[in-house]
Symmetry: C2
Subunit: 186 residues, 2 copies
């Protein structure tokens, strides 16, 4: 990976979606803003430490089973009784279900990035047991920013994404490298 | 991470699901084996280089839209016309859709691992443009194996998972760290 600029002197905080010092909300159950009401953030609008936080989604057993039937049909995601005899010892959501839910919360309630939410690579993707009744929100935080060397219309951001439950414990964490358009870009 | 044993002298190949030298199949369109017909592989059955390969799934535009509506509602995954004006320049599947499909293929047609397919961490998860009409299969290959220090009933495997299309190009690649039970384990 190329060297990464660890700060962007020209960056400015954009509305409630940016700014490292934004206080943490324990249960942000507000309904999501309609997409068009969110400010459109370009690469220049982000700084290292910029944060977004979504509202929470209450995960149900029915949702866990529905996702698992289609994508991850293993006993510990399908059947609470069978789950007790598994390595988990309990009924839990598929990690890919939690990742998919993270994406939906980000796209519908997270920051609105110029060019969209386009991830090139994901690292350090860690899953923790996620159970029916967990209330899950997503926090994003910009770790690093750098301009693209080959394409002047865009930059790259490394963003820590964390899915957090109602006890403020992480359900999933990862670092995603995203493309974000610059102002005046495509 | 602890030091990792790069070979397991006692490991033995198990049926068609293991063995580094297994030749690559270009279009393995065979129907999936019923789960109970697959050999159950314990930690001791795997060796560095052990491979599995699933049959292929033909991805349709309808599937791309259905996943995107629920989990990743962005124009380039929902609308071929809007996708042409996006950074992708074309209609493509959500990367999380391809990851979910990878999991289904692995669980239903990949190796049957003692304890199930349980991933602790995923790294180097890279997405490539995946289009309607792509025929996707999954290849798994064991990179590293090590016994758990704290829990004698299990080991850990680092496995390279690659989703490969009909042109033998990768659609998704990642390295997952998985738990696998030992013989005589829980």
């Amino acid at each position: 990976m190329e060297a990464i600029a660890l700060s962007r002197p020209g960056a400015r905080a954009a509305s409630a979606f940016a700014g490292a010092a934004r206080p943490r909300q324990a249960f942000p159950m507000t309904s999501p803003p309609a997409p068009e009401t969110r400010p459109l953030l370009h690469f220049e609008d982000l700084a290292v430490g910029s944060r977004c936080e979504t509202g929470a989604h209450l995960l149900t057993a029915e949702e866990i089973v529905a996702y698992a039937r289609e994508w991850d049909p293993q006993p510990f995601h399908l059947d609470p009784a069978a789950a007790r005899d598994s390595l988990f010892g309990e009924f839990v959501a598929s990690g890919w279900h939690v990742a998919s839910l993270m994406m939906r919360l980000l796209v519908t309630q997270g920051w609105r990035l110029a060019g969209g939410q386009i991830g090139l690579q994901v690292d350090e993707l860690v899953f923790r047991a996620t159970r029916p009744g967990d209330s899950l929100r997503v926090v994003g935080e910009v770790l690093e920013l750098r301009a693209s060397r080959s394409k002047p219309d865009r930059g790259l951001a490394r963003v820590r994404l964390t899915v957090i439950n109602q006890r403020d414990d992480p359900a999933l964490s990862c670092v995603v490298t995203q493309i974000i358009l610059r102002k005046g870009g495509a």
